[in-house]
Amino acid sequence: MNRIKKHPVIDTDKPAGELEFRFDGSNFTGKEGEAISSALFANGIRHFSEHPKDGMAQSIFCANGQCSQCNVLVNGVVRKACVTPLAAGMDIRSIKGLPPLLTDDKPAELPGLEHFDCEVLVVGAGPSGLAAAIELAELGFKLMLVDDKPSLGGKLLLQSHKFFGSEEDCYAGTRGYDIAKILENKVKTHPNIKVMANTPLAGIFKDRKAGLYIDYKHYGLVSFKALLIATGAREKSILFPGNDLPGVYGAGAFQTLVNRDLVKAANRVFVIGSGNVGLIASYHALQAGIEVAGICEILPKINGYKVHADKILRMGVPVHLGSTVLSVEGDGKVERITIAKTDQDFRPILESAQSFEVDTVLVATGLSPCDEFYKQAVAFGFTAVKAGDAEEIAEASSAMFGGRIAAINLAKMLGKNVKLDQNWLDKREVLKSRPGDIISRNAPIVSSSWQPVFFCTEEIPCNPCTSVCPTHSINLKPRKGNMLDLPYFKGQCKGCSACVAACPGLAISLVRLRDDGMAEVRIPFEFDASHFETGARLLALDQDGKPVTEAELLAKQYNKKYRSWLLTLKAKPEDAVRIIGIRVQDEEVSRPLPVPSFKYLPDNAIVCRCERVTVKEITDFIKANKVRDINQLKTIRVGMGACGSKTCSVLLPQVFRKAGVDPATVTDGSLRPLSLEVPLGEMAEVLEGL
């Protein structure tokens, strides 16, 4: 079983009943209530179904209910494996070609429709939706808060890392899933909020109603006066040949499998994209005992926070800058990835190709807002606002302020006399800031009393170290005059190590001089250290992961609050101030194959995953038919699949460019309900006499 039994920061002893299910006629065991996709992955099954167009193996891509790549037959009915909970005795089957329709000819027992009414329908209970709902409810609005997942919190639930931002404003230093619990409690106990979890929005309609797929079991309609759309973002797909192989999927999907469902989804991954999502996913992989062969980034510099990149480098994962993916290949599953350097026009230099043997490729090339409900609402003339990633891709800490701001704006639109706190706007701006400058620091002079050493050299919106210091001796040194400023120590350090444990970037150590002329350095370590023996010599690394020295482990302690180990090492004073990590991964893991092995066929990349339409098929069609309207691509089934072009729409501009057409001259595809499929029998209005 590919289960994660031990994890340095996530509880692995969550109680869940074991149960039996069948997949294609064989018996397997899984955990009650987990997503079917997770149960299949845990049993080593990654090949879920076969596409009707060409028999290509199908597997997860988003694991988030968005893309429908993971469809399987569940007791005879097609279901998305990633949002269908496993139950005892389930008969799960691959779909090979077109699925058969269950020949159940008994008169349908129709559950009928549920009808609801509210003032504001808040769609999405991630950080922004939750924050917005609380704000609106406090203002006296009667709300419905719907979310497509069984637990509230959105992506907070997948975030096992400590939060950036500031402690007073957005729970910085607390891990995402703990923040989710705090906010969930608030909305569930508020008398003005009706919470419906596990209930995706299926569509909004011109008659000011929204369709809900309640508990994924029956359909309901809700009337509303206004909408607050906080539906988050989805991972962008990317074009390279082999982007459709089972084992290529989103970094978010990976976090779902690994962090939420504790499935060891891979043995060795390669990550495309060095934004925070890619960097954090890599870190999470390592924490889950999964090897990371490398990260590639098309830009010449790291795209995410430097502290996240530094962590990854220290763990032994190389980041290949200025590099792109040439191909992912394998026999029905990912077996290797080939990357190459790019020239100044981002074209690959084939001679520089390097191949790596991996079983999984994580796509972390950015997020695109899930804003289609908002767009439709505006087109319909409804009172609507958007918040969080649906509005602008940013950190969850910023999204919480964004939610509150959106709530106030909506309240104003609804005629409430409220004033927006300028402070919130400022905080949101700061929290969503891109990283500022890199500022060099001087190493401190080691003395006999403890003092912190900061490896935090890039301006990012973060300050938990300043609020956890019991002597208030860590403060931001004003440069920009906001949270982007870097922390500096001045005052008295008691050696409590709170700053070391709380720093989300693992970028603070404590040092002091010993009587024997050597120094002690205390560093954070978010991997299993229970097997480390005191007295052992560990290879200590500097900020970028370069070896400093073999240092003796003097002591280790586990900080329960921050779920982090604190390791105290002995080193020469000049070394001690440079030490901030211990290598986790063997260098062998990130070594390329001696000779690259790939075919470069970029036009074979899949654009429309649902209907398996390639770059070449689309560019040929555009040229032959002089297409300047995305709606016409439906002729070759682009966007006609279950996902409703959620995945391919972000790729189409570059495909038009490849066909020699300026995307600015192309009409957008029309947005129409439903945004997820609902069985006919579950949406029938039951009237008298039926």
Binding site: G97, D105, K206, N631, P679, G681, M683, A684, E685
Partner: protein, 382 residues
Amino acid sequence: MESCDVLIIGAGSVGVPLAMYTAKKGLKTIVIEKNPSWGRGQNRAAIGGIRATHSDPAKIKICQESISIVSGLKDNYGLDVEWKSGGYLFAAYNKETQEAFKGLLKIQKAAGLNIDWIEAGRVSELCPGINTDGLLGGTYSPEDGYASPLMTSTAFHRLASEAGAEFRFSEKLLSMKSSSGRIVSVKTDKEDYSAGVLVNAAGADAAELGSLAGLDLPVYPDLHEGGVTEPCEHFMEPMLVDIRPDDKSGNYYFYQAKTGQIVFCITPKPQIWGKDCDSSSGFLPLVAKRMVKLYPRLKNLKVRRIWRGAYPMTPDGLPIAGYPKGIDNLLLAVGMCGQGFMLGPGLGKILAETIDAGSNGCSQIFSELSLYRKFEGMELLK
């Protein structure tokens, strides 16, 4: 001023195939369309059925042509439009319907149509799983069928372009000038045109266009919604039509496309007039109830997408085709009443021939579909 032989207003169900035929005849053809591409008015909302089994001789003749054209696109031009000759099946669940269908059979057979009454057992063979409770049988016309409207309009657009027709998209007609019984110029937001023949093929906008020429065209769009499910293995053959009304709807019909999806729509009761093509919340609960009652196994099939489109209706449910009195060069091809997709190819071919012949020929069709008819009654199989 740009001049051409044929200026068609509307790149839709009628305009695009018509342009193909006029261009093929060597006539310089320009098509003006307000939408950014072809088929984006009512054509995109068609569900795809094409049948010749109507109750009116003119429509029968036109649609027989259409079937021959659409079913031949693959063999003649290598353009697959997913045509399937799955037949139309009008199911009868009560005596009155049965009698009405049987009465119509006489007219239909006299027009040379391949259609007959089939018993309930045969209905179940064609539609396995259909509710047989009270099922008496139905009329079945195996040569009718269905095709993908998207693929079909793209095929016609391509063939028309290849034949030399020019399409001007995102261009709006503003005014017309007439003189001594002819339209002498047409002004759009981009260009002025003069044309030998101007064709009003403007679908839901036909009446507005007519008024620019001083005509009062009785074409009033009403709104219908349609939908498509996820695909599944092939299990039903014909377009299945249930004409029984209930308190909120009239007839409804659906078929399984070649690619496996069920495509469906329903006639709302009362009719919804206008042009607002945004989806409403009531459609799915209404159509779902009726479909799963008629065909219980559909309960497990998931709806993928829905849409709304306009039926450019005339008072009697029949199209208007021909030249109005007093304007020699304005050809009307309007009021397709929701059947533009099935009428368009045949009508386009017939009209192109009359334009080419420079005549008001095709007298039977023009007289039956005349603007000056009485517009009485309503076609039974609308």
